[in-house]
């Protein structure tokens, strides 16, 4: 309060001086420098996709500086990894990227399996891929719905969640949970699919394939949406590589790289060789290559590619065991491994160090949202506040993964 009144008084005094001097008012008006406003974008804000704070300096509507502040959702996941047993750590992995929990489970399990050096039963691999891809669809649906909400379109959010409800119901049938599954475990998957589950997944695929063009036309091809997102937040080729971006953010900038095809893990190498899916790479269709529209487009098309992967698995799945034989208290031989998988948001890496004990020596989680978010510091300055919202939304971050 005091600061403001002093500034106002000072301003008034200067105006009075200029008026008394006569003719000086012209020069005074040219000299008036308005202060940049420092606005706190978050931690409580509908558009930051979680508890994140971006300290923005704005000159009116133009953003002149941005500083993301993280840590509001830091839950010490890495420290916990050094204090609980290998199998006990699995529920914690669900909770970093809670929108794509299956992929987190998969990443951690694969990292530990790399140190253990064990083989996964084939049916387990099939179920893993089906669940991971279904969860990718669910995560991209949220990205699509909430991005529409950020841009101001209220309705696609409801349609996206209607489809996501079905996906969550499917997961509830197979593992009992709707959001944090702990389904994909070290050595395989926890539970076999109940009878009728695979048929319902096929039905989901068919229905979703019919709905997808409607959502695409409603939001992605909407002229106002294009005006809001095309040519906004352009990430050029070199910047994308320098910042270590991965996932849809990298592909939208025209870089053709996907871990599922290029450094294949699980069954993806086989699925790719069968020609079942393709990798969408941004083409700069509506504006400059690497803008927000391209990123949203990549995510939309990836949903349809995931449907194709799921269909391939449904066609090739066979009966068999789903969980390898592992002791209740797992002791992992000494060693270390880094395994990176393609999360819906980018490369999710788990670096696991074992000392031969039943508790890990180090569990490092490389969250894609954390690395992808760093690009905001360079993208936001120079854009309008409305554009800042569009850019933050297009990075599709989950603060659980940013902060762990």
């Amino acid at each position: 309060m005091d600061e403001r009144s002093t500034a106002t008084e000072q301003l008034e005094a200067r105006v009075r001086e200029a008026q008394v001097a006569g003719g000086g008012e012209q020069e005074f008006m040219l000299d008036v420098r308005t202060q940049d406003m420092e606005v706190n974008f978050g931690p409580q804000h509908p558009a930051t996709h979680g508890v994140m704070r971006v300290l923005m300096r704005t000159d009116g509507e133009l953003c002149t500086g941005a500083q993301p502040h993280l840590g509001y959702l830091h839950r010490c996941a890495e420290k916990i990894g050094e204090n609980v047993e290998w199998l006990q750590y699995l529920p914690y992995t669900d909770r970093y990227d809670y929108l794509a929990a299956m992929n987190n489970n998969l990443g951690y399990s694969m990292a530990v399996e790399a140190v253990l050096g064990i083989e996964i039963p084939r049916r387990a691999e099939m179920l893993r891929v089906i669940c991971a891809e279904l969860n990718r669809i669910g995560s991209h649906l949220i990205a699509f719905g909430t991005y529409g909400l950020d841009i101001g379109a209220f309705t696609p959010f409801f349609y996206a969640f209607r489809e996501r409800e079905w996906m969550q119901a499917l997961f509830e049938k197979i593992c009992g949970a709707r959001l944090t599954y702990s389904y994909i475990r070290i050595g395989g998957v926890f539970n076999d699919a109940p009878p009728g589950w695979l048929e319902e997944v096929a039905l989901f695929c068919d229905t979703f394939e019919q709905k997808w063009p409607e959502y695409y036309d409603l939001l992605i091809e909407n002229q106002i949406f294009i005006k809001r997102t095309a040519n906004v937040g352009i990430i050029p080729h070199d910047m994308a590589l320098d910042f270590g971006l991965t996932g849809p953010m990298l592909r939208a900038s025209g870089i053709d790289f996907d871990l599922r095809r290029d450094l294949p893990y699980s069954l993806y190498g086989e699925i790719w060789k069968d020609g079942a899916f393709r990798i969408p790479v941004g083409k700069g269709e509506k504006g400059h290559l690497g803008d927000c529209w391209d990123r949203t487009w990549v995510r939309m098309v990836e949903m349809m590619e995931s449907i194709k992967i799921v269909r391939w698995c449904l066609a090739h799945i066979e009966e068999g065991p789903v969980l390898g034989d592992l002791p209740k208290t797992l002791r992992v031989p000494p060693g270390e491994a880094y395994v990176g998988i393609e999360n819906p948001r980018g490369e999710l890496g788990h670096y696991v160090v074992s000392g031969g004990d039943k508790v890990a020596l180090r569990v490092r989680v490389r969250g894609p949202s954390f690395t992808n978010l760093a690009v905001l510091e360079d993208l936001l300055p120079g854009s309008l506040v409305g554009d800042a919202i569009a850019i933050i939304g297009s990075t599709d971050i989950v603060v659980g993964e940013t902060d762990r």
Binding site: G148, I151, G152, A153, T155, F158, Y159, K227, R228
Partner: protein, 378 residues
């Protein structure tokens, strides 16, 4: 035309007659008229919130209110109103208390003033304002001051953003709003709502302005788009941009003060739709009114002791005419709601570009074209 307040005056005279002196009756009738206008605003807010929730619900594949009151939750807005009245009266610390409390009042006062020029039926109205639509547009522009006041007094930078955007947006779209309205005003030859409506009688009530001039349809579209920007409805809802600014200039408001903002928003929507209905879509004229006029048109007035006054026998005509205008206005309101839930939001600089660079020249072209057309025809 008889002065509309005389309708209230006659009611009082019938009720109290010689019990009170003349000036008391006149004062009473004025208060009744004021109460009537306020009731209209309040009832419209109640109905419009219910309609908005149902429309948004069905567009989003859900039902909207279904329980409160029984049939499709019609009493939901009543329940919400009761809840809002019982809320704590908060004024943000550091905010300007006087301005904070005054802003919603100013908003409502401005829209109330504009509502006074809104006729119920061709013979029942609060005031027969000769300036009509000019008066309505001018008063509804006053609401901007209230919004900027609200944004500033909230002591929140986000509210300030909303207020600044509102000021820029409304100023930009006042121009195409007024200019596109010149097209029907030219054809009608009057600003007065009642006279303009009466001009459109004929062809069994379908001799609407929109059929008289090829430039009427673009003028209507321009007017509709500009009115969306004036009433801060999506896709121009930047001042209250929910996902960017939480609630923009309304963020710090709660309880009954917040409901004042929404009463004003829905009243403005109704007014703009009603103005469009009167000046483009025939106002009170429709086949229904035409036949009602044929049957009850001569029973509207009754003369007794040399004093002409409204007669109760003409009630069906009043119902037909009133219903026509209300339905047309509500259709416009429905269109506004439909657009809100379908389209995303336009960015502020794109809003300004659209207003100044596209809508204004287009509306000027419409006026020019309409004028030339009228000159050629006559």
């Amino acid at each position: 035309m008889e002065s509309g307040t005389n309708a209230f005056l006659e009611v009082l005279r019938m009720a109290f007659g010689d019990l009170a002196p003349g000036w008391v009756l006149v004062l009473g009738s004025t208060l009744l008229a004021v109460g009537g206008a306020l009731t209209l605003i309040a009832v419209n807010a109640l109905f419009a919130t219910w309609l908005e929730r149902k429309v948004s619900g069905h567009i989003q594949c859900r039902f909207g209110p279904m329980y409160v009151g029984g049939w499709h939750g019609w009493a939901q807005s009543l329940a919400d109103g009761i809840k809002l009245i019982t809320k704590e009266d908060l004024v943000p610390r550091g905010g300007d208390r006087t301005l904070f409390m005054f802003a919603p009042a100013l908003l409502l006062a401005a829209i109330f003033g504009a509502m006074v020029a809104f006729p119920i039926t061709p013979q029942i109205y609060f005031a027969n304002v000769d300036l009509g639509v000019y008066f309505i547009l001018g008063l509804s522009a006053l609401t901007t001051i209230g919004v900027v006041m609200a944004g500033w007094a909230s002591n929140s930078k986000w509210s300030l953003y909303g207020a600044m955007r509102e000021a820029a947006q409304v100023v930009a779209y006042e121009v195409p709003l007024g200019i596109s309205l010149l097209v029907p005003v030219m054809v009608a030859g009057t600003f007065n709502l009642l006279d303009a409506s009466a001009e459109q009688s004929g062809w069994y009530g379908m001799h609407w302005f929109i059929f008289r001039n090829p430039f009427m349809i673009p003028a209507l579209v321009l007017f509709f788009v500009a009115s969306l920007a004036e009433t801060k409805r999506a896709p121009f809802d930047l001042p209250e941009a929910e996902s960017e600014l939480v609630a923009g200039f309304m963020t710090e408001y709660s309880g009954i003060r917040w409901s004042f903002f929404f009463m004003e928003e829905y009243a403005a929507m109704l007014l703009m739709s009603a103005v469009a209905a009167v000046f483009f879509l025939g106002g009170f004229e429709s086949p229904l009114t035409h036949f009602a006029n044929a049957l009850w048109g001569d029973k509207l007035f009754v003369t007794a002791d040399g004093v002409t006054s409204l007669s109760l026998a003409g009630l069906p005509y009043h119902l037909a005419a009133g219903l026509t205008l209300i339905l047309k206005a509500l259709f416009g309101v429905f269109m506004m709601m439909w657009l809100r839930w379908t389209l995303p939001r336009i960015r502020i600089d794109q809003v300004m570009t659209m207003g100044y660079k596209y809508l204004t020249p287009l509306s000027l072209l419409c006026v020019l074209g309409a004028g030339i057309w009228e000159a050629i025809r006559s």
